[in-house]
Symmetry: C2
Subunit: 292 residues, 2 copies
Amino acid sequence: MTGDQAMDLWVREVHRGVVALSFKVEKTLFSGKSPYQQVDVIQTAGHGRMLLNDGIVMISERDEFVYHEMIAHVPLFVHPDPKRVLVIGGGDGGTVREVVRHPGVECVVMVEIDEMVVHACREHFPQVSSALDHPKLSLHIEDGVRFVAETKERFDVVIVDSTDPIGPAQPLFDKAFYENTAGLLLDGGILITQAESPFYDPDLQRPMLANQRPYFPRLHLYLLTNLTYPGGLWSFGFASKGPDPLRDFDPRRVEASGLRFRYYNADIHRAAFALPTFVTETLCDTIDAAGV
Amino acid sequence: MTGDQAMDLWVREVHRGVVALSFKVEKTLFSGKSPYQQVDVIQTAGHGRMLLNDGIVMISERDEFVYHEMIAHVPLFVHPDPKRVLVIGGGDGGTVREVVRHPGVECVVMVEIDEMVVHACREHFPQVSSALDHPKLSLHIEDGVRFVAETKERFDVVIVDSTDPIGPAQPLFDKAFYENTAGLLLDGGILITQAESPFYDPDLQRPMLANQRPYFPRLHLYLLTNLTYPGGLWSFGFASKGPDPLRDFDPRRVEASGLRFRYYNADIHRAAFALPTFVTETLCDTIDAAGV
């Protein structure tokens, strides 16, 4: 991946050996190898700057708003009064950027294992990493698995903004991690987890959701579609110690917040919990039905 | 595109010069040049058989159910009593296959310009083209633009299952076509149109919807996500001479039909009309808001 504008250069991510998504590259802005993964930042022709970990697209400037709005605002508008939020992963800062837009949030703790991701995003994605110096944020460069096992802090919402269950993020999909996470959630707390592609990855979704199931009375899946993940359709897990993602959602709160979003809105919030029949059938023994 | 299983062969569709979607190929099953376009059928490694017109993916066996269920069942469950249905394009037969599942439909007319597509799909996609010999179907190999200009027949629902507004389908996006189509819709009739990618193609969506606008008191957009179109998120136009896609939709009709779907269901029907904020903002001067 070298940047020579005279060449017809593309970055290509192959998924499951059968499908590939490629983006036209203008130049490479950063390339480094951390103790955890290969980290690359490229300037693309049509999607702004793009972050790749181990060759897998994490974010692009063009569509990162979809993922970050959906991972943050769905739980923050369901929980009745989220004050303390923990973000595991999310080194680019986009999730924190959305979380701190809620004035009621008093404290955000972010635990990212890979300092190189944070440095690269501070440098090359100023509009994504813009909240990494926010006064409400406490940023730890540390293993999230160890953090949730050891911390005495408690939270209203935990967001696991992780890479896939291969490589450094693998333990974030284990039962022990979810048990510890459930333990540090306050009453009525909500856990959001990056939950892969319903089309391509049901074999990853089933165990991760089954690993969460014992610790949460409610467990739902919700959907979004972005440009940079294979299959377009993507999912988050919504595990809750209390609130129902739809019955406890009041669209007037979105309106009253005065916040402006590019993807999220009250209709999209509800619609995201409507699952295609094949998704429901695949996961029906693990997740709860949402009464859309 | 030749089939040699010893090679690492992929079929690659570039969109807008900045993004490409590639599928691993096992072999080519059919390749021909009709008066209208290049037609190819390939066996892929992960998506079953795939039809490409002029190198652009039309359908794959793995995910065609998404597109065909959403183009057919949304209007057929909104219209109070659809008896006569016209399908323009849709040479693979998938749309007709879904339409004839509604026992109340008495007559389906399908007008496909390219006989080679029909032949190739009869041969290589038996489960998609399975209704092309259905007794309720009248299949015309003919220009859809001329058909709607000349026919004296009238319809409850017209479905434009077309390729993109480049190549042979271009006139299907013109004002004259929509005016003629509105003219052959019975009272309370509904027109559904393939309406491109909300992420990549707002410059195609805006004129096509503006061209429909003068002839329909209601005009909405609804969404689906499949595996084989660039950007994942895709859209259909819902133009109506009467019925509202949500207020006139009774989910009990879906249940009572006894029909089984793989993507469509009553929740998905409603959710499909929830638009991301950036879509609404882009098209707000053309389409109506759906009261999701």
